[in-house]
């Protein structure tokens, strides 16, 4: 007998440890569940960490109003199966109430999510919010702690982060402050897919190859739909049907598809192992703005 865990078992054990610490030490945790693959894995790990008790905290979805129908369907089904409470923080409602201004038609509401997220955190007095963020996603995230402190304005201060040693997490905070908790910090995109395969997890269908009408913009494939349409002036944005899948799932307006024939988890793993472009680089126009786009949004309180 060699007393050594496989890499997936080691990552899962670390994530379960983190979830249990939070449940033990915080008063009002919540889990961000977008219906994307990382949050699906996070929810699964959280359920395992609390077993045989039912999940003792709600899940939160920040709804931009620009979602993929398949993702909303998956979200509602998972929430129903687990019997867990769903809190929807609606960007549309915040716009309707006049709290924030909408983006021009066809634009991304990505950045508007911060307002609704912080409002939900404040309104429900959540003191710990689990997110599925991974350090391999983006360079600003590579420096973020597993327990990531937010001040009373929800802001992240990358230069003033608390040292995080061993597995001794310090979640002490003043009233009005909260923590973002990232149990999957040390997972990579490939780890997530390997875990999805091992655990037999279900995902929204758009993660697998399907035929979809798309058009090309800035080198990326965007779906034609109610929120995005080819620009009539741009001659090169002629729509066409392609075999595609999604590597990440966000707002329909800023999440691009990749050409793919991978229709099973195993085929996605094969593709991911040989991918030459990072998942955010391939599919997220929101991260292309500048090298520090993510850092800037995170400072304001984004995921």
């Amino acid at each position: 007998m060699t007393y050594q865990l496989s890499h997936l078992d080691a990552l899962e054990a670390e994530a379960i440890h983190v979830v249990r610490e939070v449940v033990a030490e915080f008063e009002r945790p919540a889990l961000l569940f977008s219906g994307g693959k990382d949050s699906a894995v996070l929810l699964h790990v959280a359920v395992k960490a609390c077993w045989p008790q039912a999940l003792p905290f709600p899940v939160v979805h920040v709804d931009t109003g620009h979602n993929f129908a398949e993702v909303l369907e998956f979200r509602d089904r998972r929430v129903g199966e687990l019997g867990v409470r769903l809190v929807v923080a609606s960007v549309q409602q915040a716009i309707d109430r006049g709290e924030i201004a909408d983006v021009p038609a066809g634009g991304s509401r990505n950045r508007l999510q911060t307002h609704s997220l912080l409002q939900a955190i404040e309104g429900h007095a959540f003191d710990a919010v689990f997110g599925g963020g991974r350090r391999d996603e983006e360079k600003a995230r590579a420096k973020e702690r597993i327990y990531s402190h937010r001040d009373e304005f929800g802001q992240w201060n990358p230069r003033g982060q608390r040292p995080e040693l061993w597995s001794l997490y310090n979640g002490r905070h003043h009233k009005g402050e909260h923590f973002r908790i990232f149990p999957l910090s040390n997972w990579t995109e490939l780890d997530v897919w390997q875990y999805i395969e091992r655990e037999g997890l279900e995902l929204p269908t758009i993660y697998f190859a399907h035929d979809r009408e798309v058009f090309r913009r800035d080198g990326m494939l965007l779906a034609t739909g109610p929120f995005t349409a080819p620009s009539p002036e741009a001659a090169d944005e002629t729509p066409f049907v392609a075999r595609v899948r999604y590597r990440t799932v966000g707002d329909m307006t800023c999440t691009a598809a990749v050409a793919s024939e991978a229709s099973t988890v195993a085929e996605v793993i094969d593709e991911t192992s040989t991918a030459r472009v990072s998942e955010r680089g391939a599919t997220r126009s929101d991260d292309r703005t500048s090298e520090a786009a993510m850092e800037d949004r995170k400072r304001e309180g984004y995921f």
Partner: protein
Amino acid sequence: MGGLLRLATAGSVDDGKSTLIGRLLYDSKQIFEDQLEAVERTSHARGDDYVDLALLTDGLRAEREQGITIDVAYRYFATPRRKFIVADTPGHIQHTRNMVTGCSTADLVIVLVDARTGVNEQTRRHAFLASLLRIPHLVVCVNKMDLVDYREDAFAAIRADFEGFATRLEIGDISFVPISALAGDNVVDRSKHMDWYDGTSLLRHLEEVHIASDRNLIDVRFPVQRVVRPRSNEHRDYRGYAGTVAGGVLEVGDEVLVLPSGFTSRVEAIETADGPLQEAFPPMSVLVRLADELDISRGDLICRAHNRPTVGQDLSAMVCWMAEQPLRQGAKLALKHTTRWARALVRDVQYRLDVNTLHRQRDVDELGLNDIGRLDLRTTVPLFYDDYRRNRSTGSFVLVDEATNVTVGAGMLLRPAG
């Protein structure tokens, strides 16, 4: 696929540490094209002669602008044999706290030495910190071999120098690899320029180093994280103790003792959401059920009746201080050890360690930022602990400022005298 190896890298900007990590990621094909293009753009904009692979790891805006590494960055790569987590720590003297942070979870540390200048104060400091943090494996990478014409005598001199100093360290396994991170020699593949070197490439070494026996598999230690009582129809009388095994191999049927109560019982079941297990070892996260109903809560510890940790409120520890405000005798701080919080009073600063010479400065009464020293502490409640040398989980703690809630110190417990 095999397991997970956590490694820390230490060295200054000039030693080419970030370049080495960039090289490992690039040559093991973990760098994506868009990430490389972004780095190329920044390098050209800054007017660099070659693509600066360090930019792959320096993520924050201030780091890229100033060309320095500010904080511990975590990077990931995998080969068919192992998955690697790299804690990339800055090498400047004012960042000892980052090095200690990065080393706290590491199985292995890479210390970079410039082949032209050899072992210096910083090399010694990094090696000493790795030893203090009980990293079981250390690899000295003698870098920039291309700039000394790949000469064996340059490598041999540095090796001899380091070995002379290393007799004062407590690291069981030290290896030496001559490399050029920039040119790629001996990083992933064996170099064609150094036939005299009969060892493996750095990556091969990382894939093969034996870490399974590094954890303490002898002393059973199970700090209770939560008491799980679902009170559901399905699990009406269920009472399980959730936790991460911190030491030893816990087995169903074991006679165990619970601290602080001293009650004994028997392990009835070890469970996970995937089903029951016969045994559990570090760092597994499990639920333990005992044969008897005992009063157990978070912060208690389950061990074997005849192998107990030290139980005490008067502690001696090596502490790395991480706050601007100095630590003085009489200070009161919050302390987290395993799953237990206590308050701690600093009774005495015994000495400060000069991390360059290992000299003990006894005429001190405070520790400043990035100082390491030996403290005597008194806690409000007893801790159940082991010497850090014997168990990195039950031998470590953090200190937290009670007013600001900031983590200000990292401590490694010493066995009590006598």
